[in-house]
């Protein structure tokens, strides 16, 4: 079924200085669900030179259309989410001290003793903890609850930030040997990859790019973006846990979900979507043909924007592809650069091979 793609049209992504700069800006941006302005600005800035039809919709999704050439083109929607988990200041509790709540799934155990940034100006703050000297053994056996923690921006800081401001971890993207360590790589890698795909868009399809909002709050942005685009197929590019650590008692770990160095993770089934068989096959066959390592994400729970896209209108065949990542929703995640670049390479190669024959009904074996 696959189209033949000339070698000259193949794309070999690299992580050079320019790309690393963009990824750093994306990762370090404060773009908590509900206020994705910082990433939205980066997306606009990066895509402006392409001069594509582009708009921000009612919820703040950035929707970009790259039309291909020729007749009868497949309309392919790709969604990557701009938002990240984080915090919001809710109440002032002394000068420069603020109560806060968590937005999205953050384990409160990740918050204690961390530097944070607050608001659009990235005002520096910290989430402290009681000195170990002053705690009792009983206290140390309890998790520090969010309502007992405060964000501290320093003396006089009440003039710099206000309740309602969003906050996130103050983590800067770093290259650690073969890995990247940074915050919000879920899903800024996807945002980065979608920007690269638009800059190198194959012209056999219409590429409908959705930089979505509020994924972490229940795939909300993707819901309306998919309605707007009315695509033939939908793809979510996201990041998925690599739980490839040792089991505490030395047992074999059969619940790794994905592994670092395993290549792009292709979804058969998660808690929100059964991946369309035709699309799963298209991706795995492309990877094999292009000699790109890949892995199935272990079938299980969780979800991506595909969970919203595939239920749109009369239904949209959908699939997800993720970069495997350790320690999501913590001060920093960790991914292998190879896995990231192979994900981008796979997506470009797969899109280049795509035509309407993919929609031929397939027997469900």
């Amino acid at each position: 079924m696959a189209r033949q793609v000339e070698n000259s049209k193949k794309y070999s992504p690299k992580l050079g200085k320019k790309e690393l700069d963009l990824l750093t800006r994306l990762s370090n941006a404060l773009s908590v669900s509900g206020d994705e302005q910082e990433v939205r600005e980066i997306v606009y800035e990066e895509l402006k030179p392409l001069d594509l039809p582009m708009h921000t919709d009612a919820m703040g999704n950035v929707l970009v259309r790259h039309e291909g050439k020729g007749k009868d083109r497949l309309k392919v929607m790709i969604a990557t989410h701009m938002d990240e988990v984080g915090m919001m200041l809710t109440k002032e509790d002394g000068d420069g001290l603020f109560e806060f709540v968590v937005i999205g799934g953050v384990d409160p155990r990740q918050l204690v003793g961390k530097p944070v940034i607050v608001g659009r100006k990235h005002v520096p703050g910290v989430i402290g903890a009681k000195a170990i000297h002053l705690t009792t053994k009983e206290e140390r056996e309890q998790v520090l609850k969010v309502n007992s923690l405060r964000i501290d921006v320093g003396l006089g800081g009440s003039k710099l930030v206000e309740i309602g401001d969003r906050a996130t971890f103050a983590t800067s993207l770093a290259v650690l040997g073969p890995s990247l360590r940074g915050k919000a790589l879920d899903d800024r890698l996807g945002v980065f990859n979608l920007i690269q795909l638009l800059k190198n868009a194959p012209d056999n399809i219409d590429l409908l790019a959705a930089f979505t909002v509020q994924e972490e709050l229940g795939l909300r942005g993707a819901t309306i973006a998919a309605y707007h685009f009315n695509p033939d197929i939908g793809i979510a590019m996201d990041s998925t846990p690599a739980n490839d650590m040792p089991h505490f008692d030395g047992e074999a770990n059969h619940t790794h979900n994905t592994k670092l160095d395993g290549g792009p993770a292709i979804y058969l089934m998660d808690g929100a979507t059964i991946g369309d068989h035709r699309l799963v096959k298209w991706l795995t066959e492309t990877a094999d043909a292009e000699k790109i390592p890949w892995q199935y994400r272990q079938p299980g729970r969780g979800g991506t924007d595909a969970g919203a896209i595939h239920k749109t209108r009369a239904g949209v065949p959908s699939v997800s592809v993720s970069v495997p990542q350790r320690y999501l929703h913590s001060p920093a995640g960790m991914v292998r650069i190879d896995d990231e670049l192979n994900t981008l390479k796979l997506m470009h190669a797969a899109l280049s091979r795509l035509d309407k024959s993919i929609l031929k009904p397939q027997e469900n074996k």
Partner: protein, 357 residues
């Protein structure tokens, strides 16, 4: 050289220097203290000593200022694939560890290499029941350097130290946050004192000591007291400021005061003398009660040799023993100035007034 406190303090809290492994921090302090003293030397346990000769006739009395420079941190206990198991050096509440940025101090062909990493918490399903929602005991945590197992095997050994890597950050209102402000804030205050003393007359010899191994029990201070044999000592360490999870007996406001300790480790005559100087120069001070003795170098200095009278100063600090400790720069400067005023006011026969009634 003009000594500037903020960049110096920032450079001190940008380096490691765990208890027993103080070389990196000593290397930062040494050139600054060399400029502000007549001679420096290193004790057998790695404390840095800097001597300023007084102007009194010999034999002159001498005062020691002790501020510990060592840091709490972690150490590698085992290596599983690319993951490092850890233990702690000094008092670390394991609840602050998940997600903490660190530096692993490994080696390559005998040369030190610094590997950035982070403390990580395995997902619930890889942990026993007590790890799913409760605080994670240290034994279940790992450090991940982002390197593959083969590389880790070449660079990291059991026993390698792991320091916190939180960057120094200026917060609002002349405050600063970072790791190991306990007790490098006091080393900074001591440096302020040396700087002040370099521009004024003092009769006494002054020996500033950046002590080693305080976090594991006053080891450096004990040896340095013996080596220096001061007539009396000023010990300066951080104390508990108010704020979230604050408390302690003092519960001092940031930026408002220099706590002077009052308790079993502190000679009341020295307390009175320090208080009198503070009052004279209108430096706001508060009593910090430490009734049964202090958890500082004072505990060991006091019982060195045949006994050394001690006066202790504090710098209020929030979130002690976390990598986001907070102090007020104003407090650091004030404590330094108070020490300088006090020392330059000392007459040669001062010890005659340090008596029990």
């Amino acid at each position: 050289m003009t000594f500037e406190i903020l960049p110096f303090l920032k450079s001190m809290i940008s380096v490691a220097g765990l208890s027993g492994y103080e070389t990196p921090i000593r290397d930062v302090i040494t050139p600054v203290w060399q400029d502000l003293s007549d001679r420096t030397w290193v004790s057998s346990h790695g404390s840095l000593h800097a001597m300023r000769y007084g102007e009194g006739a010999e034999p002159r009395p001498k005062v020691m200022i002790a501020a510990h420079m060592d840091a709490i941190g972690l150490m590698v206990t085992a290596i599983e694939n690319e993951f490092l198991r850890i233990t702690q050096v000094g008092g670390v509440d394991p609840r602050i560890l998940p997600g903490q940025m660190v530096t692993v101090h490994g080696s390559k062909s005998g040369e030190m290499v610094e590997l950035p990493g982070m403390v990580v918490m395995p997902p619930a399903h890889l942990l026993p029941k007590d790890g799913k929602s409760g605080p994670l005991p240290q034994k279940y945590l790992f450090v991940d350097t982002g390197l593959r197992a083969k590389e880790v095997d070449k660079l990291v050994r059991v026993g390698d130290v792991i320091s916190f890597a939180t960057d120094p950050r200026e917060l609002s209102g002349d405050t600063i946050s970072g790791h190991t402000l306990d007790n490098r804030a006091s080393v900074a205050a001591t440096t302020v004192a040396l700087d002040e003393l370099s521009r004024r007359k003092h009769l006494w010899d002054v020996i500033a000591v950046a002590t080693s191994q305080e976090e594991v029990g006053g080891i450096g201070a004990k040896g340095s007291s013996f080596d220096i044999m001061p007539d009396f000592a000023i010990v300066i360490d951080v104390t508990f400021a108010n704020g979230p999870g604050g408390g302690g007996i003092g519960n001092f406001e940031l930026g408002k005061t220099v706590p002077i300790t009052w308790g079993a480790c502190d000679h009341p005559a020295l307390y009175d003398a320090m208080k009198a100087v503070a009052d004279e120069y209108e430096i706001p001070v508060t009593r910090d009660f430490s009734p049964s003795g202090s958890g500082t170098d004072a505990y060991d200095v006091q019982i060195a040799q045949a006994g050394i009278p001690v006066v202790e100063l504090g710098i209020p600090l929030r979130y002690m023993h976390t990598p986001v400790e907070v102090v007020s720069i104003k407090d650091v400067k004030r404590a330094g100035r108070l020490m300088a005023e006090f020392i330059s006011s000392l007459p040669l026969d001062f010890m005659n007034t340090v008596r029990w009634e």
